[in-house]
Amino acid sequence: MIDLRDRLVLALGERDGIPAPALAACIESVGGRVVYAATECFV
C-alpha cells in the first residue's frame, strides 16, 4: 500500500483501461495532489 497523502501525482489513464479522471478521483480521495492528468489511446 502506498501512502499518497501530500504526494504529487501524474495520472496517466488509458482508453480501454482506467481513464485519467477516475485515477485522479481515487488519488485525491486519499490525499494525493494530481498535478497532471491525461487519458491516452494506445491503438
Binding site: 480501454d16 482506467i18 487519458t39 494506445f42 491503438v43
Partner: protein, 478 residues
Amino acid sequence: MRTARFAVAHVPGLVLSGSKPRRDIQAAGGAEVRAALCGALRSFEGAVGYPPHQVVLGTLAPEALREIPRPWHLQPVAGARPEGPGGVMIDELGFHAWLARADTARLVQFDETFAEEVRARAGNLQISTMGAADLRRAIERRAEPLYLGGHRLIGVVNPAHDEDESLAAPVLLENLAAKVTGALALRCLLDGAGEDPRAAADEPVDYLIGCGEEAVGDRYQRGGGNLAKAMGELAGVRSAGAADIKAFCAGPLHGLLMAGALVASGVWRRVVVVAGGSLAKLGMKSRGHLVAGYPVLEDVIVGMAIDVVADDGRSPLLRIDTAAVHRIADGTAPHQMAQVLTAAPLRAAGLKLGDVDRYAVELHNPDITEPAGSGDVPARNYQMIAALAAQAGEIARSEVPAFAEAHGMPGFSPTQGHIASAVAYLHHAVAGLTQGSFSRVQLVAKGSLFLGRMTELADGVSILLERNPAGESERRAR
C-alpha cells in the same frame, strides 16, 4: 445493411511518412531507425498472405485465427489472393496510380521512369513528372518524398501553399491517401466485387456519409471536411450528395446510424457510409515490432464502404431502434461504457447479452499491439462484456472465459483506428446473418475524444444487426 467492402492498400514505402516513424527518423539516431524500418518492410506477397488480411478480405473467418499459431506473419495463407468477397488489396504501384488519379490539384509529381511503370499498369494516365535533380530540390522546398519499398525515391507531393500548415505536403499526402482508399472501397462496393450480385451498381447512390479521421481544409477551416464528396467523384459516382461525420474511431457507427435513419425516414433510398484509411498510423507500433524481430506490420492503409438501403427482404436489419450512444453524463470507465453500449440497449429490447451471437468491438490485431505493450484490446473488451453477463446473472462467474470466447473473436484488424472499431467485422457479420447461423450481431465502437484536448470525455455507439425475418422464412421454404 446490405454489404460492406474494404480496400487494403499495401504501401510499405509510405511507412516512413507515418507519424511515429517520421518523428523517430527526425530525432537523434534517426538514420539507424530508418535503416531498421526499411530492412523490416514486407513484400506485397507477404502482406497478401498475412492471415489477418485474408480475414479483412473475407476469405478467412476471424475465428479461424484461433487455429493459426502466432505470430501470424510466420504462417502465410497458402495460395492467398489479393481479393475476396470482402474487398480488394492493391500494391504500391496500384496505390500510386490511384494517387495520380486523385490529385486534382496537380501537386503529385513522379519521376519519368516510375510514371512509365504506372502507365504500363494503369493505362495512359495523366501523370505530372520531373527529373531526379528536380525531385531533390522539391524536397528541399518542403515537398513530401514518395518512396517505393522504402528505398527508391519515385516522386513527391508538393505543398499547396508556402505558409499554410493545413496545406503542407505531409497533410496533403495523408488526405490524398484517405481519399484514394475510401474511393477504392466505394468503387469495389459499387462494382459488386466478390460473390454478391446485389451489391452491383443497379441503383443510384443518393448520399455518401464520410467518417474517416483526416482533417481536410485550409488555414481558415482546418478540418472543413466533406472528403466523402471527393471520394465519390474519384469513384465515378455522379448521383450522390455527401457530408462527413467526425467522431474519432466511433465515426463509422455514428455514420451507419444516421444512414439507417435517413433511409428509414425516406429521405434517401440508398446511402453509402465511406471512410479512407489513416496514413498517420503507419508504423505506429513499429518500434515494438523491430524489437520483437517482426516485420513492420502496420504497412497497410484501409478504406471501407457500407451499403445501406431500404429493407430488401434478405439483408440484415439495421436495428436503429436499439442503437445506443454514450451520453455526456454517462461515466467513461470501461465497465460504464460497456453497460451503456451493450447491456442497456439489449435489455431495453427485451434481450439478454447471451442473445447476441457475436460482438464486434475494438478488433485490433493483437500481433500488432502486444509487442508494443498495448495488450490484446478485443480480449479486454470481451472480458468486460462477459463480466456484465455474470453480473446480470446470465452466467456463472466461472463461465466468463467461455462466454468471451463464444461471443467474441480474435482481433484481426490493422490498427487503422476507425476501421478497427467494430466495422472491420461487417462483411463477416452480413455473411453470418444471411448464409450462416447468426441471429444477431452487436456493433460496439468507441472514440477517444480526449485526444483532441477539448474534453476528458470518451465516446461510444452501438447498433444491433439482425437476421432478416423475411429472408429467414424464404430460406426455410427452400
